[in-house]
């Protein structure tokens, strides 16, 4: 389980994305991500892929893992998705396009391939845009920005953050419960139904322990005056500076330009 709080060393100055306000990064890509859902052509997602890659490559502290995601995982995903979507496409709708492959009575048209590729690229573009903020923002910073700029009550933000801690704990706990139930020789049998029955048996102990743990954490937070005042001291300021405005405006302008250029986004 990765550490949501990973105490990384401060990013170097050239990794400029890390130094932007999390809300600016989110706001810069969200409109494009939503609009991309309605795009059906190839050029628009390719343009956004290029934009996102350019931003990520120039402004992120690149690790081997990020390189692997950018160069292997995303292209591989596009390929697999394109091919499988091409097989799903209704041949009757693309029968007018040239034939690529014919096996027995089954025909693969260029149109189907293009439709598949469009879907694959679209999803890849959305993911790549999400990486701009996802790779360079930590959970606590996003919460702080939300509290400081969007005026989200800190009770919600910090409680959500505290709940982060529960995830690895419950993963571990579930493992122990499964082992314990196996030892008791519970619900033998294979197949989906036996599995569901088994899973049901894990819920009561897991819930009991989850509720108890949540109560304890809540008590510990209460006893430390959490929520006692409408605001709390914020040691880490996450300022919204000129550069955040510049980034936001530039990204929105670039998105608008791409969308205008390739309108009506059809194949």
């Amino acid at each position: 389980m990765s550490d949501p709080y990973a105490g990384r060393s401060p990013a170097p100055a050239h990794a400029w994305l890390h130094h932007l306000n999390p809300l600016a990064k989110l706001g810069a890509v969200l409109p494009a991500m939503v609009l991309l859902l309605f795009v059906r052509d190839l050029a628009t997602p390719i343009a956004f892929l290029a934009l996102a890659y350019a931003v990520v490559l120039s402004g992120t502290r690149l690790t081997a893992r990020i390189w692997a995601v950018l160069l292997l995982a995303i292209p591989g995903g596009v390929l697999v998705l394109s091919l499988s979507m091409a097989l799903w496409t209704d041949p009757a709708q693309v029968a007018a396009t040239p034939v690529v492959l014919r096996i027995g009575g089954w025909t693969l048209y260029t149109g189907a391939l293009a439709a598949g590729l469009a879907t694959g690229l679209r999803l890849a573009a959305i993911l790549a845009l999400a990486l701009i903020s996802g790779l360079t923002t930590t959970g606590p910073d996003l919460v702080r920005a939300g509290v400081q700029q969007l005026r989200i009550p800190y009770r919600f933000g910090y409680t959500a953050l505290a709940a982060y801690r529960f995830v690895p704990r419950f993963g571990y706990e579930l493992g122990v419960i499964r082992t314990a139930h196996r030892v008791r020789g519970t619900h033998g049998g294979h197949g989906p139904f036996a599995r569901i029955a088994r899973g049901w048996g894990y819920i009561v102990p897991l819930l009991a322990s989850a509720i108890r743990h949540a109560e304890r954490v809540a008590l510990a937070m209460d006893s430390r005056a959490f929520g006692a005042h409408p605001v709390r001291t914020e040691r880490h300021q996450v300022p919204f500076r000129t550069r955040d405005v510049v980034f936001l405006v530039l990204m929105l302008a670039a998105s608008a330009a791409v969308f205008t250029l390739f309108f009506p986004w059809r194949l």
Partner: protein, 582 residues
């Protein structure tokens, strides 16, 4: 003391919602600056409830009917907002993991201060001072998850110190820790006790360490009433028998002295520390010499067992998620022994017993249990549940650390019957055997209750019962006495001896060195995924692989045989070499 008390409790009565009777009643006392109050009582005596009421969490955060008053530094706890209260009273809870809220050690120490809206510069200076005091400043940027259990509790104490609140409440702060972590926390507490006009309320069952700092003891009985209140040492000395009868713990030296008294050596007054015990014995050399002469000769507690070991591991290695946890283990577990597996947290104790019992499949090496190799899944199932061989006995009963984890039925009766039903035992026999088990574990009137609604002690008994119902030849338990009060722990240990006499092998993981010395015939010492030593406990004690607790060292070697403990019996001939160092 004439100054106003920091804490004042008057006629307090607390009844939890849905409870049949009050958890705490008729409680009145004052606590002044500089006092360290030890709160004692058996489980269910309302110690934790009282601790929550003193910090105002009852009734502010937990709903309960409260009568009477709690006043902290002049504030009425029931009506003062929690924000005001949290700067006069702080609490450190039992579970280290449930007290970490933020992502770094520094943020956690600053959490309360930020909530109290202190200016940034003051937040930082106070947090720094508190972390330095607890020796955690160097680790301020670490994720608190990376601290040891003792480290997490010191962080919780630092967070409390940072608020500068004069009243500090600690509710079993060491109950979840290994001996190293416990020592760590006690050292931290000793450092802050009595300083800066602070008052400390400590709920703790490790009395040996607590007595070094406690100035006063308040003892609650199982109906939540104060039975004794006074100077800690005097209360424990004068009311030891009553406190024992309540089911609460006594200092180890007092327990040893009681056993020596029973063997005819008058030790007055009751010693509370190893030093007092040593002095009491040294002051009457004649009686000690006479008792040592008439004591039965030291004999090996274990006539060489020629029987083959019941569990054998050779070259055993276990990995979890590709991380090696156990390396190259060769180990024999003696049949009909009580074998304790000890070692620091994270050493691999639980993994070891799980691998020996076939709960986990080894990644390398071989385990043979009673002639069966549990590495094949089907053999494992048969070994653990006894399924597939209706007539033969199941071989292993396994009890997990948290009883709730292994409950699968909706009533106590079904829980006990489960193992038998899997083995297709006739219903009439099931009813009979379950009935006997209910009786043995005093659960008869709980037969129709949901297992999750039992008390902590009842859950533990039920989980042992479910493992015993199929009459296993081997019973494996992961920290069976964890969180149990003295009466309940003793009861379990008596049961283990009973089972052992019937020929059952008991294999248990524990942190309790007193349990090891007194009850384990064999001990396996694990550290860093390897077996450091294993063998009869007496031999390990003799070879100084297991250090004898101080209390035992305080007893002259000739008398140790009177303590009736296996390990000490074996150790008596060499103790002269260990003795002079003290």
């Amino acid at each position: 003391m004439h100054a106003a008390p920091l804490l004042s409790v008057r006629d307090l009565m607390i009844t939890h919602r849905g409870a049949s009777g009050p958890a705490v009643q008729d409680v009145s006392f004052d606590v002044h600056a500089g006092e360290v109050v030890l709160l004692l009582g058996p489980s269910g005596s309302g110690k934790s409830t009282l601790a929550l009421a003193l910090s105002g969490l009852i009734p502010h955060s937990l709903d309960a009917a409260v009568a009477g008053t709690v006043t902290v530094c002049g504030h009425d706890a029931a009506t003062t907002p929690i924000a005001t209260l949290s700067s006069v009273v702080s609490t450190v809870f039992q579970d280290p993991d449930a007290q970490i809220i933020t992502g770094s050690v520094l943020d956690d120490a600053a959490f309360a201060l930020e909530n109290l809206r202190l200016p940034v510069s003051e937040v930082l200076s106070r947090a720094e001072a508190a972390l330095r005091r607890m020796g955690l400043w160097e680790r301020r940027t670490d994720n608190p998850d990376r601290l040891s259990g003792g480290g997490k509790q010191r962080l919780a104490i630092a967070s409390a110190l940072a608020t500068g609140s004069p009243v500090l409440i600690l509710d079993e702060p060491t109950a979840n820790l290994d001996p190293q972590g416990t020592a760590d926390v006690h050292a931290a507490l000793a450092d802050i006790a009595g300083s800066e006009g602070r008052a400390i309320i400590l709920v703790e069952h490790d009395l040996d360490a607590a007595l070094e700092i406690a100035t006063r003891a308040i003892v609650l009985d199982d109906s939540g009433r104060v039975v004794f209140d006074g100077p800690a040492r005097r209360i424990l000395r004068e009311h030891a028998e009553e406190i024992l009868a309540l089911g609460a713990w006594l200092p180890a030296a007092a327990l040893v002295a009681r056993r020596l008294r029973a063997a005819g050596i008058p030790i007055e007054p009751l010693p509370l520390t190893a030093t007092e015990l040593r002095e009491a014995l040294a002051s009457q050399p004649d009686t000690v010499a006479r008792a040592a002469q008439s004591a039965p000769p030291a004999q090996s507690a274990h006539p060489a067992l020629v029987a083959a070991p019941i569990i054998t591991a050779r070259g055993l290695a276990v990995a979890r998620r590709r991380t090696p946890v156990l390396h190259d283990i060769d180990l024999d577990i003696e049949a009909a022994s009580i074998t304790a597996v000890i070692g620091p947290n994270g050493a691999g104790k639980t993994t070891l017993v799980q691998a020996l019992a076939g709960v986990l499949a080894p990644s390398r090496g071989r385990v043979v249990v009673d002639g069966i190799d549990p590495s094949a899944a089907s053999a494992r199932t048969r070994l653990l549940s006894g399924r597939g061989e209706p007539a033969g006995p199941a071989h292993i009963g396994f009890v997990f650390q948290n009883p709730e984890h292994q409950f699968i039925a909706h009533t106590v009766f079904d829980e006990l019957a489960h193992g038998l039903r899997l083995r297709r035992t006739p219903p009439a026999e099931i009813a009979q055997r379950v009935g006997r088990m209910l009786q043995r574990f005093r659960l008869v009137d709980k037969a129709d209750v949901h297992p999750f609604l039992l008390s902590g002690g009842e859950k533990r008994r039920l989980s042992v019962g479910t493992a015993l119902i199929t009459r296993p030849r081997i019973l494996v338990l992961d920290e069976p006495t964890f969180g149990q009060d003295r009466a309940r722990a003793e009861e379990l240990l008596a049961l283990f001896h009973e089972l052992r006499a019937e020929g059952t092998t008991i294999l248990l993981v524990t942190h309790d060195m007193d349990l090891v010395i007194r009850h384990a015939s064999h001990t396996v010492l694990v550290d860093d995924g390897r077996v450091i030593a294993s063998g009869p406990t007496s031999e390990l004690v003799r070879d100084a692989m297991i250090p004898l607790p101080e209390t035992y060292l305080a007893v002259p070697p000739g008398l140790r045989v009177l303590l009736g403990d296996h390990a000490v019996r074996g150790s008596s001939d060499v103790q002269t070499t260990v003795e002079p160092e003290s």
